[in-house]
Amino acid sequence: MTTDVRTAAGRRTVRRLAGSLHRRPRLRLTLLLTAPLLWLAVLYLGSLAVLFVSAFWTTNSFTSQVVKVWSTDNFHELFTTPVFRQVILRSVGVALAVTALCALIAFPVAFYTARVARPRWRPLLVVAILTPLWASYLVKVYAWRLILSQGGLADWMLAPFGLSGPGFGLPATVLTLTYLWLPYMILPVHTALEQLPAGLLDASADLGARAGRTFRSVVLPMVLPSVAAGSVFTFSLSLGDYITVQIVGGKTQLIGNLVYSNIELNLPMAAALGTVPVVVIVLYLLAIRRTGALNSL
């Protein structure tokens, strides 16, 4: 008897709570957002903010202790030291090359999977593109280490032509990064090509355009936002990478390596170096967001 009364009272409380939640969308929204925003804003953005502030600190050159005095020395050094400038330019160059290569390879593959292959096969082909995306990053780099190592697959394949593989170095880095991020480019391009209305292509043909002209004037402009979306990944992931370079890059250095090698000795300098890719990528993201490409991610 008493339990019944208690559950009835409980039910009434739940009902009242639900009612007040339903009537107050603001309250509901606050309850939904508090925990995740605390996590992302305080923990993540907070850490980032502290890191960027520390880019304006310096270190005592004898003790490597961080001196919390505001100065722009690190940034000054960043732009005037030839080594830093070279590495920054090289990193941006690698990121651009990887992005361009990914776009070049992605287009025929995506065009095939989205429009040429039999419709029955298309979902399967998408899975075929997705599967390596979830194979471990390290395993894929490791695979390329095996391929490019001395006496590896690359040497073996090129031997009949009297050539040898590229070995470890800058080309190996670009190649491996292209391989790693390729699915990120194929997928958005595939989706865009798949959603292209067939009527538009027919209309273009009716108006007398050949395949090449249709491609340039109809297909390309409609698919470019997706290429931009894909390039966010290929570009930013390449720009910050330092593991791949360590494994297949030989003596090549990118920004990531410089950041990594400065962390122990000179954290403010590492932080200043770290701001370079962040600034570049945030600018890139903001530019991309204006085109609406982020919504198609």
Binding site: T131, L153, V278
Partner: protein, 271 residues
């Protein structure tokens, strides 16, 4: 668009080459794990299961696997809760700064891992260390959860956008409370998206190396870190080969399950 015969053949060849390039390295890892040689040279001199049995008894790899599983489960649990909350806020409410919220969710995965890594590392060591909490498995989980949120968020938000809020309204018109409507209507609708998101979050955490490097305390070694440390040691090469081959085979699992669970994930990448 009407393609000529040559164009079709060219595209078919190009796509075939593309798929070959995608799969040859993965197959190579599988073949190499069966090669009797300690060093990688092509072609292998024969095939053997010897290194697989050696790898099974490698305690370092086994321990690292266990740490990875624990970190992945912890990060996935946190990401599921936080990602779902944001997804509901963004999909069911209009508010000031909504775009910014979805932007901030993407940021941890869009920024280089090394930046996230040193930021979290210095924050942990300045804030947590005085409280007596050192770097360890806990900090790895916190770091991983931060970039796993986006995967859950994307899966759930995609599902919510496709299911209109009118289902819940109908349930409430029929007398259900907010909670009842959620439990009986909304949750079943998003359940498979949650599972898919959680699975992909786990896979993402399982694969992470950079943020792990900076948030793991001494003695905490995840599987990627173990591979990285042992990759250049000739003595360990055969075992690394086997572990790599296992990971290649395992990568089919999240894709297969996610594919079965929800149609959204078919075209959704990590973001």
């Amino acid at each position: 668009m009407h393609l000529s015969r040559t164009a079709r053949i060219a595209l078919r060849t190009g796509a075939g080459l593309g798929f070959a390039v995608i799969y040859v390295p993965l197959l190579l890892v599988l073949v190499d794990s069966l090669s009797p040689d300690r060093s990688a040279s092509w072609p292998p001199r024969g095939l053997t299961w010897h290194w697989w049995s050696v790898a099974v008894h490698n305690s370092g790899a086994r321990q690292a696997l266990w740490v990875s599983v624990k970190a992945g489960l912890g990060a996935t649990a946190i990401a599921l809760v936080l990602g779902t909350l944001i997804a509901f806020a963004v999909a069911r409410h209009r508010f000031f700064g909504r775009d910014t919220v979805s932007f901030v969710v993407v940021l941890p995965i869009a920024l280089p891992g090394i930046v996230t890594g040193i930021a979290l590392n210095s924050a942990f060591s300045t804030v947590l260390a005085p409280l007596g909490v050192g770097l360890g498995l806990f900090t790895v989980i916190v770091g991983h959860a931060t970039f796993c949120i986006v995967v859950v968020f994307n899966n759930v938000v995609a599902r919510l956008r496709r299911t209109a809020a009118s289902y819940e309204e109908a349930a409430m018109d029929l007398g259900a409370t907010t909670f009842r409507a959620f439990a009986d209507v909304t949750f079943p609708l998003v359940r498979s998206a949650l599972l898919a998101g959680g699975l992909l979050a786990f896979a993402l955490s399982f694969d992470e190396i950079v943020v792990t490097t900076f948030t793991a305390g001494p003695g905490i070694e995840t599987l990627p870190i173990w591979i990285f440390d042992n990759m250049t040691r000739p003595q360990q090469a055969p075992v690394v080969n086997v572990v790599a081959a296992v990971l290649v085979l395992l990568s089919v699992v999240p894709i297969y399950v996610a594919q079965r669970l929800s149609a959204d994930t078919a075209t959704s990448s990590r973001v």
